[in-house]
């Protein structure tokens, strides 16, 4: 190649340089989701049985939709796809923005109206 050294270097550091490390490759360099916070135990379910590849969706997005045909937590999605949680959050943000997944954030203890969840867990554990 005859490209001058400086411009060749710029090709690697500008906005189109692309991924540097693998987790960021999957999110195309993004560290935060476009929408949502996605707690580790936020529950996710796909809104469609299948998604055809479209612009902006990578194989990992499609894998999440496939996985979330059954309800999964954010932590489970990360474990099954073997990707860091931060990466999964970004991908879920993309899917939520396209209405391809439904997300339910966890209940906080302070927000519980009564003891019914505690009692249900205690009874459920005893019945295991």
């Amino acid at each position: 190649m005859t490209v001058q050294g400086e411009s060749a270097e710029h090709q690697w550091v500008d906005d189109h340089a692309g991924p540097v490390v693998r987790p960021y490759a999957v999110t195309r360099g993004r560290a935060r989701p476009v929408t949502g916070t996605f707690d580790l135990i936020s529950l996710v379910t796909a809104t469609r049985a299948d998604v055809t590849p479209e612009v902006g969706l990578g194989p990992e997005h499609l894998a999440i939709v496939g996985l979330c045909q059954r309800i999964q937590s954010v932590a489970e999605i990360a474990a099954h796809l073997d990707l860091p949680v931060g990466t999964i959050r970004v991908l879920l943000g993309d899917l939520a923005a396209r209405n391809l997944v439904q997300v339910r954030e966890p209940q906080t203890t302070a927000g519980l109206p009564d003891n019914s969840i505690f009692e249900a867990v205690i009874n459920g554990l005893r019945a295991l």
Binding site: G29, T37, I41, I71, S73, A75, A78, N99, V103, T109
Partner: protein, 203 residues
Amino acid sequence: MDYGHSDRPAGATPLPTAIKILVAGGFGVGKTTMVGAVSETRPLRTEEVLTETGVGIDDLSGVEGKTTTTVAMDFGRITISDDLVLYLFGTPGQDRFWFVWDELALGAIGAVVLADTRRLADCFPSIDYFEGRGTPFVVAVNCFEGARKYRLDEVQTALNLDPGVPVLLCDARQRESSKEVLVTLMEHAMKTREARRRAAGTD
């Protein structure tokens, strides 16, 4: 946080409620063993990748020069019913990852602090952490073979625990024993919550 478009159409089945319990304690005390003993699947592992400049940094230029650290968390799942799922998270053993603990502890219904009487001091940071946050916790003394048996009140005194904090013996490998620890925690968390509500109501 508002997810905007993620609402399910009216009339559809709502997603279950998820709650979490943390399993903390020193390195090698049996956290993942306990998670595995009660979980419906073998423990899963999830990872957070962190850079030395911290989390949530959007500018990734020069990322190749940063030290990245991977913090792994083992966790398991117990489906209580169609509308209630319990997750158990083993906390990262290294105490320097407090910010990961903060994320884990946020919204946690309670915590199990596993203790090994041969290395009792290993669980001090966990106890301090949950006391400081006001997270209800129980101390479960994992009975390792060859470890000297202590009375529970001796452990309670050695740990300088509030008298209300349950201390019990357990075998983290055994499902029944680990279940009993979780039931004790849930009962304690429920009592703690009621006491706080009463206190708030009389203020």
